[in-house]
């Protein structure tokens, strides 16, 4: 009841006069419902009544030897009626709702997930070929056929899915895994260790295992033999195949200092202005310097514009390399970074890192040497033809 009154509107009235009880009895007999009726200190009654019942009550006021005053008007209807005098505000709201409603019928954003080797631009091009791009009507998008089209258009995509969330098209792809090429070469060969390591597991698919798990092997040591011998029979030579997983320890060192290469500003600058909308820039810029840094000086939102158009001013500072004396902490950080870079470049992609530790040492000449010791688990097998 309270909620209905809040929506349909009600008034709080004050009833003054003589014979108030007789008046409210007559009102109740007419079917008028009075709520929150309360006697005030001055003898008047304050009550709440809905709009329709108020008009009925007002018609009965002759029976009352007194007056009825409206103290407050409440409810959604009352608030909306005040807008009659603010037409621009009312029409503005209606216009905004209309624009939002129309805009929600179109696709505005495309979110692509799962891209690794395939670029998002390629997927967007496939979508554009199917007539799907920001700005198209959502009702024209067929999600099932879209996913199928992506999968068919690029053989690197093993699965694709598309879904609409409001005005965002979410595309998810799963890239195909590379199938290892079948080795058709049948030249007899052994598998030897490519590096030193502690054997963790050895599985020979073709050939005979020469070592077992737990043994330490050196680079070049025979792991799986392609020469199969048996008493009373001629030696048979096959192409050894298998997987030999071993624990390998690497040590990477890097020495830096006592000065480090840093970039300093030369003093030359170049200014440019960018206009952007939703993060997309309409103006391009190419600096004339080999090395530079850019700082934002000012960003202004164009007012009076329906869309959030930003005008940004940037300053480009030219940089040059110089050798500068560095603190011990900076040298340590640089040495560790260099050692880490060596490690990333040297480790095989399929190696699984088991442990890693690093240490640094300040040398007498002011340089810092960093060492990183890494233990990995990897396949150390290397095929060598049997002579």
């Amino acid at each position: 009841m309270g909620l209905w009154n809040s929506l349909s509107g009600y008034v709080i009235i004050q009833i003054k006069g003589l014979g108030l009880e007789r008046f409210i009895n007559a009102a109740a007999a007419q079917g008028i419902v009075l709520q929150n009726l309360k006697r005030q200190k001055d003898g008047s009654l304050q009550a709440r009544v809905n709009v329709e019942d108020f008009y009925a009550l007002h018609r009965m006021r002759r029976e009352l030897r007194g007056e009825i005053h409206i103290l407050q008007k409440r409810g959604l209807i009352m608030r909306l009626s005040r807008l009659r005098h603010r037409k621009v505000l009312l029409y503005g709201w209606v216009l905004i709702l209309l624009v939002l409603f129309i805009a929600s019928r179109y696709l505005w954003f495309v979110d692509i997930q799962g891209c690794s080797n395939i670029s998002e631009t390629e997927i967007l091009e496939i979508l554009a070929g199917q007539g799907v791009a920001p700005g198209v009507n959502r009702s024209t998008i067929r999600l099932n056929s879209l996913a199928e089209a992506i999968r068919v258009a690029d053989s690197r995509v093993s699965w694709a899915g598309a879904s609409m969330q409001g005005v965002i098209l979410r595309v998810r792809i799963e890239e195909s895994q590379e199938i290892p090429a079948y080795d058709e070469d049948e030249t007899p060969a052994n598998i030897v260790a490519a590096k030193d390591g502690l054997i963790r597991s050895i599985v020979a698919i073709n050939g005979r295992e020469q070592v077992e798990a737990g043994k330490v092997v050196r680079a070049g040591e025979l792991l799986i033999s392609g020469a199969l011998t048996r008493d009373g029979y001629e030696t048979m030579y096959v192409r050894a195949k298998g997987t030999v997983i071993a624990e390998v320890t690497y040590v990477f060192t890097a020495t830096v200092g006592p000065k480090l290469v840093t970039y300093v500003k030369t003093g030359e600058t170049q200014d440019y202005t960018e206009i952007s909308l939703f993060g997309w820039s309409f103006t391009g810029f190419e600096a004339d310097y080999k090395a530079y840094t850019v700082e934002l000086r000012k960003r202004v939102l164009l007012t009076g514009c329906f869309l959030p158009l930003f005008v940004s001013e940037y300053r480009c500072f030219a940089l040059e390399k110089v050798l500068e004396a560095a603190s011990e902490a900076e040298l340590i950080e640089a040495a560790l970074a260099e050692a880490e870079a060596k490690m990333l470049a040297a480790l095989p992609k399929d190696a699984r890192i088991l442990s890693k530790s690093s240490s640094t040492e300040l040398l007498a000449d002011g340089t810092v040497r960093a060492s990183i010791v890494v233990t990995t688990e990897e396949d150390i097998g290397y095929r060598v033809p049997i002579q």
């Binding site: 409210i24 007999a29 419902v33």
Partner: protein
């Protein structure tokens, strides 16, 4: 009059019909000491913030309390809220 009331009463009792529907007997429901619902009332006799007197078929129902407010007043029922201290029928 007495015979009519007596017959109506007996009729209601025999058929086990609710008395407040057939005879207009007032039904008074008190919830705690703050809420009171009176159905089948016949009008307000007197109302002030410390007391309320209602006309019913059983006589004048007097309600005494503090800060009494008529949450809802309609043709046949009244919902009283406030600090209710007592209620009684004045003359039957």
């Amino acid at each position: 009059m007495k015979k009519k009331r007596s017959f109506r009463h007996k009729f209601t009792e025999a058929l086990e019909l609710p008395a407040e529907v057939m005879e207009g007997t007032p039904r008074v429901t008190l919830l705690g000491t703050n809420d009171l619902l009176v159905e089948n009332q016949q009008g307000i006799y007197e109302y002030y913030d410390k007391g309320l007197r209602l006309s019913t078929s059983c006589g004048i129902l007097s309600i005494e309390g503090k800060d009494l407010e008529l949450r809802e007043l309609s043709q046949e029922r009244v919902y009283v809220a406030g600090e209710i201290r007592g209620l009684w029928f004045e003359n039957q």
